[in-house]
């Protein structure tokens, strides 16, 4: 199994409570105002809400030191977007796994039957309707009606399958972006198909909430279906889907006979090949928000098994050497290259970017279960975008876009929020 709390006992024991998981590394910090990296500890300001605190909690659970699982404990466990910022910051100095013990703590609790009531609705929806949004499975392919795109679930063949993702399929505003994406791919001459009503959730939310069994069912089914369809590439707009397909699917031990790409990677490739060309200007000062699942969380995780030896009383040597995912190899440049290549655009970076990016607040079921935390986190990002003079914030994740838009509406600001595909469509 993937998420076993006992596999992380050494990491959890070795956490020195240094609290470096709470901030970006000092060398990356640019101002006091935007010096937090973890929405949970920044908002609640009690150690258990931080990466290190969650390690202590996980250790207590693994060692059987928690007699009762209270509602408050569950609230703390799930008041976290599992954005992985703590993990990236910790690994700047140390090599402790922080994010996977957080996942494993949730899996441990879920295995005992402890989760939030709202999660049971999300999981019920997955079991009955193959999506996390409580929408009918039969309606999943409706967004593509009239596009004339191949439907692989009906036996048609294509080189590329476009996996829209739950939100892009069901949210009317985001469905328009999925339609635009297919039109862009067709315009570039890509042999693309979809799976219509047979497309299912990637399982990302189930995984992040700790429902490992449910995740495995969806992941195995998706891999088998894409292998059977004979596609060479799976292209997705869903950053959460991309992150989980890249980082966790390979751990299931099933052969994946296809390459997984996020739409930003594919559009960047098509633009650089000259298959898509911008013809219109987009005169605006624009910044880019890195979705966690497209960035630091999209590196393929390599579980480590081996022996550890302490030398000189403090240094840990591992045999064999451990592959450490520091978030360095996420998808950072393709979306930035796309934005930079749009005529007339003035691209400006925010303070917390790439592997040290601030989360939008929507991840890991937080948007569905704790909207107050989601919106507060998004409002912090909006403030950061404004602080660098951004007139618009571009992102590449449906959850980020939806959450940032809601926060802008709530705070009454005039910052525009764009999906990167919208930007491309407007500039073509």
């Amino acid at each position: 199994m993937i998420l076993e709390l006992k596999d992380y006992l050494d990491d959890m024991k070795r956490c020195a409570r240094c609290s470096l998981c709470k901030w970006p590394p000092l060398a990356q910090m640019k101002s006091w105002r935007f010096s937090n990296n973890c929405p949970s500890i920044a908002r609640y300001n009690f150690h258990t809400y931080s990466g290190g605190g969650r390690m202590a909690l996980g250790l207590a659970l693994a060692e059987g030191r928690l007699d009762t699982i209270t509602d408050e404990l569950l609230n703390i466990v799930y008041r976290c977007t599992a954005c992985g910022a703590c993990d990236s910051s910790c690994k700047y100095n140390a090599e402790l796994e922080v994010l996977w013990p957080i996942y494993s703590t949730r899996a441990h609790l879920a295995g005992m039957g402890y989760f939030l009531p709202e999660h049971s609705m999300i999981i019920d929806s997955l079991r009955k309707e193959d999506n996390t949004l409580m929408k009918p499975k039969a309606d999943r392919g409706k967004w593509a009606e009239g596009l004339g795109v191949k439907d692989l679930s009906k036996g048609e063949k294509a080189e590329v399958v476009y996996h829209a993702g739950c939100l892009y399929c069901y949210d009317p505003e985001l469905s328009a972006i999925a339609r635009d994406t297919v039109l862009l791919l067709k315009q570039a001459g890509v042999d693309v198909g979809i799976r219509g009503s047979q497309e299912t959730c990637c399982g990302s939310t189930a995984f992040q909430l700790g429902f490992q069994g449910e995740f495995i069912k969806f992941a195995e089914s998706n891999i088998d279906d894409w292998n059977a369809a004979g596609v060479a590439r799976v292209v997705t707009s869903c950053a959460c889907g991309f992150g989980i397909m890249k980082s966790v699917y390979p751990l299931l031990g099933r052969q994946m006979k296809f390459e997984v790409l996020h739409i930003t990677q594919y559009l960047d490739e098509l633009l650089k090949q000259g298959k898509l060309r911008f013809s219109r200007s987009f005169p605006a000062r624009v910044t880019y928000h890195d979705p966690c699942n497209l960035g630091r969380k999209s590196e393929t995780y390599v579980p480590w098994k081996g022996t550890e030896k302490k030398v000189l009383g403090q240094f840990i040597l591992r045999e064999p050497e451990k592959a450490v995912s520091r978030g360095w190899n996420g998808v950072y440049e393709p979306p930035r290259d796309i934005i930079r290549s749009v005529p007339g655009i003035q691209f400006v970076e925010m303070e917390r970017i790439m592997e040290y990016s601030w989360c939008c607040g929507a991840g890991s079921g937080v948007k569905q279960t704790m909207n107050d935390l989601a919106l507060w986190t998004a409002s912090e990002r909006i403030a950061e975008a404004k602080s660098v003079g951004g007139e618009a914030i571009v992102t590449a994740c449906a959850w980020c876009e939806q959450n940032l838009k809601e926060a802008v509406r709530q705070t009454g600001g005039n910052l525009m929020v764009y999906d990167i595909v919208e930007l491309v469509r407007q500039a073509l």
């Binding site: 199994m1 998420l3 076993e4 709390l5 494993s104 949730r106 899996a107 441990h108 879920a110 295995g111 005992m112 039957g113 402890y114 989760f115 939030l116 009531p117 709202e118 049971s120 609705m121 019920d124 079991r127 700790g210 429902f211 490992q212 069994g213 449910e214 995740f215 495995i216 069912k217 195995e220 299931l252």
Partner: protein, 262 residues
């Protein structure tokens, strides 16, 4: 009217095959991390049966579950679905009881509840599939028992039940109080809403230990589990050659006869 529904927390029968493990030493299924227990599916049907009667005639529906370590969020789903009260019979001594002992504990709980008009259980639980508990519970309580019900109606102090049988269904009547075990043909448990989940937090949840029940000594186990294993499944594919399709078919028939399959 007061209806008791017995619900059992079981290992998720829909867990992925690749995650299914058996500990042969302990003779136990090892629940994989991140796969929560669920309400046994037939017990969900039983709860739905009780709620349908409550909707038609008005009744208090009490869900009762028994075990040594019960997951509140899983069992609270009974309250969210509409049960008025949840009683957890939780005690270390209730670990791994067989159907006869389990029925004894449940019967003690029903007696403690008092005036009970009906007791519903699932036709069998999805973990061991024994299908014994409901019947023994009726025996313990001295109630009539009707099994494998697909429809339940109450009129004039009588319960009228449609039972699933091999070639259709039969109709059986019994006086109240009685025990009815419910089949999936009765219908799925109703959808739970977010509002109902919130409201469920305010409904009564009682915890009864073994000492809280007037419990006679539990009978020794009547079944001994000798072994627990995942059966090996082997597939061998052999092609029959022949000059003609008829000759190949004849050869196939011979091979099947050799294997004792014909």
């Amino acid at each position: 009217m007061q209806i008791v529904v017995c619900v059992k927390q079981v290992v998720d029968p829909e867990m992925p095959h690749s995650a299914f493990r058996v500990d042969p030493e302990q003779k136990r299924v090892v629940p994989p991390p991140g796969t929560p227990p669920v309400l046994s599916p037939f017990d969900q049907n039983a709860l739905e049966a009780a709620l349908q009667i409550r909707d038609r005639l008005g009744a208090k529906v009490i869900a009762v579950s028994m075990g040594s370590s019960l997951a509140r969020p899983v069992l609270s789903r009974t309250l969210a679905a509409g049960a008025d009260e949840l009683i957890l019979l939780e005690d270390p001594s209730f670990r791994d009881l067989d159907s006869f002992a389990a029925a004894g504990v449940l019967a003690a709980a029903v007696r403690k509840i008092g005036e009970v008009d009906m007791v519903f259980t699932g036709r069998q639980s999805s973990d061991w599939d024994s299908g014994i508990t409901g019947c023994v519970l009726a025996e313990e309580l001295g109630f009539p028992c009707i099994t494998v019900a697909s429809k339940v109606e109450i009129a004039d102090g009588q319960v009228r039940v449609e039972r699933v049988i091999a070639d259709g269904f039969e109709v059986v009547e019994a006086p109240l109080p009685c025990v009815v075990t419910i089949d999936s043909a009765l219908g799925e448990l109703r959808q739970v809403t977010l509002q109902a989940l919130s409201a469920a937090r305010k409904k009564p949840l009682r915890l009864w230990k073994a000492a809280d029940l007037d419990l006679p000594p539990l009978p020794p186990p009547r079944c001994e589990l000798l072994d627990l294993f995942v059966p090996k499944r082997e597939t061998n594919c052999e092609f029959m050659d022949g000059d003609t399709p008829g000759a190949a078919a004849a050869r196939l028939a011979e091979r099947l006869r050799e294997e004792g399959l014909l």
